[in-house]
């Protein structure tokens, strides 16, 4: 995987469970951002031409390349809508979270 993976946070029981410094390893992710969304990007793979404009413009980096097209990591997408707004083929549309 080219992105840091989500891991389960276990409450430390002993001092030795805590990191030596003020942080854990690089890329230590324990919470998702999916709950921030009010709108959600939906990708139409047929319409996607793989221009990667959305991939380059996503502030979260949640759009990744997949078979010459793109896919979305919904765990960390905040639903800002930059991808849908910038798509020249309208292959990404924003829908209200909870619909469909």
């Amino acid at each position: 995987m080219n992105r840091p993976a989500l891991r389960k946070y276990v409450n430390p029981q002993y001092l030795s469970d805590l990191p030596e410094g003020p942080c854990y390893d690089a890329g230590h992710l324990v919470t998702v951002n999916a709950g921030w969304r009010t709108r959600k990007p939906v990708l139409d793979s047929e319409a996607c031409t793989g221009c990667y404009i959305c991939y380059m413009n996503c502030p979260e980096g949640v759009i990744f390349k997949s078979d010459g097209k793109v896919d979305i990591d919904y765990d960390f997408c905040k639903g800002c809508g930059i991808c849908g707004n910038g798509c020249p083929k309208d292959a990404i549309v924003m829908i209200r979270e909870g619909e469909a």
Binding site: L6, Y9, H28, L29, V30, I53, P59, G61, K78, N85
Partner: protein, 303 residues
């Protein structure tokens, strides 16, 4: 722009790895997009220094750590001095093939960290300093900084009957830095991401100090929709309010010299922070822009 001995990085050749992931920046944040690309272009062997500001606040939330390469928070004023220390340490250890980058906001660069930055440029440290400019102290609640533009409403420069928001103009950080005789300086915008990537790549190959000033819209502070960040960052360049340029070997070079400018009115009217401005205020902004462009076209190298 020529990039030597390296594959030119673009949408197809850029690494798939994400080094700034799962961060807690507001939706549509221009600054986090800048950080994402800086780290992607510079790669895994990069030491990143972040002063107090949005990007350190959203990247390090114990136990979450959103930087997937080596990153550290510095004092607000000490971005460039900590970078100098890291560069000295890396030299002492004999490290090869690495980059030292500092990513500070507009307040951390133009106001609080200016002295340390000036010192680092003076010593010609081999570091890359990048200022992501969202035009106010956004992390602490949208206070005016030295890079807040004329007319913008912030919490410390509210718009009222007598004073219409910020009465001062943006410091010209690009030319301040260039006046040091720096090895490489450039301005960029997240709206022109390929241009920004080219400049990061170029900065990474400079033997000396480099500085990039990247324009990064902030939906929260500017009162805009979250999905227009890129549009605004493009429009500010097209209107001529933000200039894409480079400085090296003692010369300024303009990267984009548009024949005509996009209307400033459209750019200003879509932002909450400029809502109170009247036509005469916009005319003043246009006037200042035209004066600046006249000076640029008379004295800089035009591409």
């Amino acid at each position: 722009m020529s990039v030597v001995n390296k594959v030119r990085i673009n949408a197809r050749t850029i690494t798939d790895k994400e080094f700034f992931y799962g961060h807690k920046a507001c939706a549509g944040c221009g600054g986090s997009l800048a950080v994402r690309h800086i780290l992607k272009v510079l790669g895994e062997r990069t030491f990143t220094v972040l002063p107090a500001g949005c990007m350190s606040a959203v990247g390090f939330n114990f136990p979450q750590l959103c930087f997937d390469s080596n990153a550290i928070i510095s004092t607000f004023a000490g971005t460039a001095s900590m970078m100098s220390g890291i560069a000295a340490g890396a030299r002492a250890l004999g490290l090869k093939d690495y980059h030292v980058v500092g990513i500070a906001g507009d307040g951390g660069t133009a106001d609080i960290g200016l002295q340390a930055l000036s010192g680092a440029i003076d010593r010609r440290e081999k570091v890359i300093y990048i200022c992501y400019d969202n035009e106010a102290y956004m992390n602490t609640g949208i206070q005016k900084s030295g890079l807040t533009p004329f007319g913008a409403r912030t919490t410390t420069t509210p718009a009222g009957e007598n004073i219409k928001g910020t009465v001062t103009t943006k410091k010209n950080m690009f030319e301040i830095v260039a006046a040091h005789g720096i090895d490489y300086a450039a301005t960029a915008s997240v709206g022109y991401i390929q241009d920004f990537i080219n400049k990061i790549q170029k900065a990474s190959e400079v033997d000396g100090t480099s500085y990039i000033h990247v324009y990064a819209p902030c939906p929260t502070g500017w009162g805009t929709e979250t999905d227009v960040t890129i549009d605004l960052a493009k429009e500010v360049v097209d209107t001529g309010l933000w200039v894409l340029a480079e400085y090296e070997q003692g010369e300024f070079r303009l990267n984009r010299n548009p024949k005509s400018f996009a209307p400033v009115e459209n750019y200003v009217r879509r932002q909450g922070r400029f809502k109170h401005l009247e036509d005469e205020d916009i005319a003043a902004i246009v006037h200042a822009r035209d004066a600046k462009w006249e000076q640029i076209r008379n004295s800089w190298k035009l591409k």
